[in-house]
Symmetry: C2
Subunit: 177 residues, 2 copies
Amino acid sequence: MSKKGFTLWFTGLSGSGKSTLAQFLTPKLRELGVPVEVMDGDEVRENLSKGLGFSKEDRDTNIRRIGYVANLLSRNGVCAMTAAISPYRSVRREVRDGCKAEFVEVFVKCPLEVVEERDTKGLYKKARAGIIKNFTGISDPYEEPEKPEIVVDTAEESIEQSAEKVLEFLRSRSLIG
Amino acid sequence: MSKKGFTLWFTGLSGSGKSTLAQFLTPKLRELGVPVEVMDGDEVRENLSKGLGFSKEDRDTNIRRIGYVANLLSRNGVCAMTAAISPYRSVRREVRDGCKAEFVEVFVKCPLEVVEERDTKGLYKKARAGIIKNFTGISDPYEEPEKPEIVVDTAEESIEQSAEKVLEFLRSRSLIG
């Protein structure tokens, strides 16, 4: 492949807008001739990680698998977008180090109050009620990225603005034309 | 990607020569400009399927994961070579049906007596001794493909001959130039 692949690694709380932003970017990137694959958290848990739970160990295993596939894709010229919460800094660092192609971490920032208010999947309510255990932000930690390549703030920005930030960064690195 | 990706799905007993043939083909395909990724059984168990055992259910899960990744790669112009035993016909059928790009099943045929005599990893001895349970060919079934695209016979052919059969098939389908 002559094309330069890369990984767009979205990280953030459940409901912060990771998958939505990835889906919004997909046709825009394809229009630019970039092959895209999106691996969102739910899809990956179905296809790669069925049976894994939400302990730190299981979460890390899930993230390593996503990282393995993102590396295979991106080093073959694909834009691999991943949209799993990926709450732990250490394993995000590990997958970054394992990626041969460019690794772009996108922190999808949104205050807990806002995602909890949105509660698109009704999960925060269940987490607060103790029905779901180990829920990131409620009963499990989320470690914010220290030096992400991109920060989008979905509580303050429109999706167009967030997407433009990502595209602008990719242009600045000559990853897209 | 303008290139046509495809999956080369090697199946056969442990020690039949799946990974060896995949590794032998890799530089030949790359010389032709084909991007290649090899997922052999051991590597995949480490990266995608740690914790899974060798029951039919766990084997099927392992194969589904390999199929998921092979599909992602091949539909993006990559030649995805997989070299897991993949003993069950039904799940091989399932991954074939799930692959958007061309799916080429290569039956790496070798009589049990021969692979047992080779016993490259010392596994057959352990399986015969009952130290390893559920070992394909000894204490677990291997279902031969009914209509594989290619059959190579590693007991009778040189690796060059087997590789040439594969390349010849790929040329006949215009999958390589």
